[in-house]
Symmetry: C2
Amino acid sequence: MKETQDLFPTRLERKLGMFERIDPVVHSDGEQRARGPLSEAQLDEFDRKGFLSFDGFFGQEEMDAFLQELRDYEDDEDLKLSEGTILEPGKQEIRSVFGIHEVSEHFSRLTRDPRLLAMVQQILGSEVYIHQSRINYKPGFKGKGFDWHSDFETWHSEDGMPRMRSLSCSIILTDNGEFNGPLMLIPGSHRQFVPCVGRTPEDNYKESLKSQEIGVPDEASLRDLMVEGDIEAPKGPAGSLVMFECNTMHGSNINMSCWPRSNLFFVYNSVENTLHDPYCGNRPRPEFLANRKDWRPLTPVE
Amino acid sequence: MKETQDLFPTRLERKLGMFERIDPVVHSDGEQRARGPLSEAQLDEFDRKGFLSFDGFFGQEEMDAFLQELRDYEDDEDLKLSEGTILEPGKQEIRSVFGIHEVSEHFSRLTRDPRLLAMVQQILGSEVYIHQSRINYKPGFKGKGFDWHSDFETWHSEDGMPRMRSLSCSIILTDNGEFNGPLMLIPGSHRQFVPCVGRTPEDNYKESLKSQEIGVPDEASLRDLMVEGDIEAPKGPAGSLVMFECNTMHGSNINMSCWPRSNLFFVYNSVENTLHDPYCGNRPRPEFLANRKDWRPLTPVE
């Protein structure tokens, strides 16, 4: 499918200034918005800050089962060789496993958790499907960080996601403290689109998933966003949840502590916002990064 | 001067386990200890944790004058070429300026601040001199971190400091928050000496001041210390002070925020603990890293 107009120009040779988003942040209204499960105050907070955090949304026991599954993956040499597994730069350690909801029935069911799904549908104002899922590993002493970025900037240019109508759920599998490289977000940054400079090379994802060089916001824009909105890093026990809007600027630091930090990311997209051809003009990225095969709406597990 | 016995063996080919310190942490007793300015509770805290922090010890105005002086240094091409100036790995940006109390009368006077000096003398139980001074720069977005280390491990092996009877004062010139790469310390870690593995190359400091490869504590020991003592990162406005014992394990992360973080370090050593030949057997490091010329006791400024 070809799009005639690109509403979010980025990855050009010349620098464009940041500009205000054109899409709503909370997409439901009327009865759907009022029905919950999120309260009006929570929706307002999401609208204003671009994220919501929930301490211990899932229980410790639920998380323990996932952690055991993760440990099994760490020893799985086949998984290390699979296309969706990204190793640390120059190392044999796993940084991310993409498509985790397809590898594991256990994780797949979690994406269809009734409470989670209802909140996502309420924010996106429609039925939803999984655009991408992944686990990020950040082992003690070794885990690297992620530089500041907007997911939407990449999903738009490299995956052809037309509008800002998706969000990520980050579920923390380990206790999340000040020192093990927690997710940092810039409140309010989702209200601005920051175009990035530089043409996207073909197969850019092979490098960008290890260390991003293209799709990097400029420091002047980041500074403006931080001075306006500050930085927040939600803390909490294993099972805590952060839901953040697809355009919220976020990143994370190196884990210098001994405490590992692993988390799950599920990216939900509205079924009314399915992918076009990539706006950067390249061929689409692989399925494990951007689902183009199965846009059927998710239904809650019993 | 040659030492017959090395009480803190490190930098050997084989790994030695960590062992308990043999020196006191607070060296004064009797009347000198009771005289202050630190209270018995503060001395106990320093003894237990290996550091003390003071919110806004110096005033904002005092700090502003130093910051202006720092800005002048950033533009000073001669200073960039000077031996005591360490640039970021592969870059032209200043990481540290050593010997700052010799470059600047203003900074020299600060090392002799009566309140500061009296606290240091009370802890070290004697008159003191400056072993080393430096400014660390950590600009917004760009500032790199420092891996975990004990200063004493280096000062003993590379500078010939015989015993644990010195301390660092870190004075923060900029507000110190969660996100601009604050100093992190492991409470209680000063009670253990962690020998490091690997012979010290000659002129090791030329690399180690940018990125430390020798004198790196092993992960198992660090984990034990963290599990026992946790990690703390004192926050505070410009002018805040952290005094930490020479063997307290510390480090700092990358500055991913837009807010720069600059701080001053003054290392005070007891006049009863002056330097021997380096225990690693190499020739001494340069004067700007380890003062061997002037061990006269500091006297307070008027």
